[in-house]
């Protein structure tokens, strides 16, 4: 088990940030989703032992979140959302210092800093003052500082904020590589669903401090057995008209048609309509929910 929380409640004055939150998460790449104010950052701070919870209990990597706060922070790498820097240092010193703060010896930290800066693609900028880095470079720098001690769990909070599309893709690729190829568990907090879907295989959805959904993304993305995605070569409009004539509702979406199959009708109706329309079916499969639909459904059920 990567981490588990049992009945965790956290309030800040009159604001309840986490409300009786219970969740168990296996090792792997976990996405943490939720609208603003859902409690994502509070949950991360709870896991890191940065805040005192009002009620409940929990473990991270088998360590109690109340009693072994410093041990947890030593075992976990964290890249915060905010723009934050150690001032007056160059990139290599920044990462090495981050390593020393978790308990690496200075020589080890410096050697390792060179390795991780190469890994995140900042090798050329390692001797530049960090204040001169671009937003994308700062995000990579924070990632490098978080993985310098090779943590078992890496927590990244909104890592692609403010990044251009190319930089975002590269950062997601790094996160994916760490989680899938390097055996590092990942908690990836973001409000950008495509980012989470690109990196993670599990997801936790929070809303108003409550757990709304949790599980493997593939399992949450429900298969609709009576709804098909169909792509045809040739005239899609004509094909859609044929389907309408056969009593099937077809809705164009991107390059496919989403077709509802009435009870008692099988997929053979698509072949018949294609034959009548003179079209070739190139792609056909039962539709699966998107992560966005899962997210919106979870939020609507909360309301």
């Amino acid at each position: 088990m990567l981490f588990q929380l049992q009945g965790v409640t956290k309030t800040y004055g009159t604001v309840t940030a986490l409300r009786d939150l219970s969740v168990e998460v296996p090792e792997g790449a976990i996405g943490l989703l939720g609208p603003n104010g859902a409690g994502k950052t509070t949950m991360i701070r709870t896991l890191l032992g940065l805040i005192s919870i009002d009620a409940g209990a929990g473990q991270v990597l088998g360590m109690d979140i109340r009693r072994r706060r410093l041990d947890i922070r030593q075992a976990v790498g964290f890249a915060p959302e905010d723009e934050c820097l150690f001032p007056a240092v160059v990139g290599i010193e920044f990462v090495a210092f981050a390593g020393e703060l978790v308990g690496m010896r200075p020589k080890d930290a410096m050697q390792r800093a060179h390795e991780v800066l190469d890994y995140v693609g900042l090798g050329e900028a390692r001797y530049r003052k960090v204040e001169t880095y671009s937003t994308g470079m700062k995000q990579r720098l924070k990632l490098a500082a978080a993985i310098v001690h090779d943590p078992r769990l890496l927590i990244v909070d909104e890592p692609t904020n403010g990044m251009d599309p190319a930089g975002r893709d590269e950062l997601l690729e790094l996160a994916r590589d760490l989680a899938r190829n390097k055996g590092m568990s990942l908690l990836f907090s973001s409000h950008l669903l495509p980012d989470v879907e690109a990196v993670c295989d599990h997801v936790i959805v929070l809303g108003a401090g409550r757990l709304l959904a949790s599980g493997r993304i593939q399992e949450l993305k429900q298969l609709h057995k009576r709804q098909y995605e169909v792509r045809v070569k040739a005239d899609r409009e004509r094909f859609a008209l044929q389907l309408s004539a056969a009593g099937l509702a077809a809705e164009p979406r991107d390059d496919v048609l989403i077709v509802d199959l009435p009870d008692g009708r099988g997929p053979s109706v698509f072949w018949e309509a294609a034959l009548a329309a003179g079209a070739q079916i190139r792609y056909m499969r039962p539709r699966q929910s998107t992560l966005e639909e899962v997210f919106l459904k979870a939020l609507s059920e909360q309301r």
């Binding site: 800040y12 604001v15 940030a17 950052t41 701070r45 890191l48 940065l50 805040i51 005192s52 410093l70 041990d71 922070r73 030593q74 964290f78 915060p80 905010d82 723009e83 934050c84 820097l85 150690f86 001032p87 007056a88 240092v89 010193e93 210092f97 981050a98 020393e100 703060l101 978790v102 308990g103 690496m104 010896r105 200075p106 080890d108 390792r112 390795e115 991780v116 190469d118 890994y119 204040e131 500082a145 993985i147 001690h149 090779d150 590589d177 760490l178 190829n181 390097k182």
Partner: protein, 322 residues
């Protein structure tokens, strides 16, 4: 397939415990401040009084032994009172005390300068660049952060107070060639070191508190200069107008000085000197009334308490809503 994966490599080293985590912060801060030219210059200049102290202690040791090495300097010794020339060892403790006291009196200027150069950046820049989440999301407590930052000031202040004191004391002991010197003068050493520690803690926490008040380093430096100069000027003006015992209390440096005098017991040291040197200045040092040292201790304690309160308010944990 690559023979060697040049991407991410796992690290198999060991991590140290949490006890000395503040040391990493202090180490980093010392390195950063060392890059400033002003820091190096002040440290170099501050070494001259230390050198003079060591030379004087060594010279006194030779004088006690009536060493032939002092022959070229006989013209300096000839004017000394006969009592002193006949039995210099009986004046050892007063002379050592006065030498150490004067050294620390001069070094407080360099200490204030070093704090002015080294201190303002320490927390204000962390606030400016929002570095606190980076510290506190690692196994670093607020007290580790504070100790680490205080450690930076401590290293530089110790370099101009405690370290030269210990080295000069060692030189004095070596040149005295008398095993009684340790038991006679150990209190001078301990008093001087204790003063150095008080200076570090008091000036360090005060500067850290100032540094935590603003993201503007110049403003922090201005606050420090205000405490240093305006306090001294105010004490002088008040002394001229009110002529009360408490006037020096408004000066931070005067309060430190009063504590130094008590720790070294300089008043007792001046008495035998005033007896053999019938100078008015020496008599003033020996017999003039001083305000109670407890007042100065109370002022420094209050400043320390206020500094800690400011620090605990300004360096907040992450247990709050953004």
């Amino acid at each position: 397939m690559p023979i060697f994966d040049q991407g991410y490599q796992h690290w198999h080293g060991t991590l140290t415990g949490h006890t000395w985590r503040w040391l990493a912060i202090a180490h980093q801060g010392v390195r950063t401040q060392w890059q400033k030219k002003a820091t190096k210059r002040v440290l170099v200049v501050a070494m001259f009084p230390a050198l003079v102290l060591a030379l004087l202690l060594a010279g006194w040791g030779l004088f006690e032994q009536q060493s032939a090495l002092l022959e070229p300097f006989l013209f300096l010794i000839q004017g000394l009172p006969a009592e002193l020339k006949a039995g210099p060892r009986s004046f050892r403790v007063p002379i050592w005390t006065i030498l150490f006291n004067n050294f620390l009196y001069i070094e407080v200027i360099f200490s204030m300068l070093l704090v002015l150069i080294v201190g303002p950046d320490l927390i204000s820049q962390d606030l400016r660049f929002n570095a606190l989440p980076l510290y506190l999301s690692r196994p670093v407590r607020r007290v580790d952060y504070f100790l680490g930052k205080l450690g930076v000031i401590a290293v530089y202040l110790a370099a101009v107070t405690i370290v030269p004191i210990v080295l000069a004391y060692g030189a004095g002991v070596c040149f005295s060639l008398d095993y009684h010197v340790l038991e006679q003068t150990i209190w001078v050493l301990l008093g001087s070191v204790a003063y150095g520690v008080i200076l570090v803690v008091s000036a360090g926490t005060l500067m850290l508190a100032f540094s935590s008040l603003s993201k503007n380093t110049r403003l922090v430096g201005g606050l420090w200069l205000g405490v240093w100069f305006i306090g001294n000027i105010a004490a002088g003006v008040l002394a001229g107008m009110v002529r009360a015992d408490w006037c020096p209390l408004v000066s931070y440096v005067e309060n430190l000085g009063r504590i130094r005098e008590v720790l070294l017991d300089t008043k007792s040291a001046w008495e035998p000197i005033a007896r053999i040197f019938p100078s008015r200045r020496f008599a003033e040092n020996a017999y003039s009334s001083e305000f109670p040292w407890q007042w100065s201790a109370a002022v420094l304690a209050v400043l320390f308490g206020i500094s800690i309160c400011i620090l605990s308010l300004r360096i907040r944990s992450l247990d709050r809503l953004r």
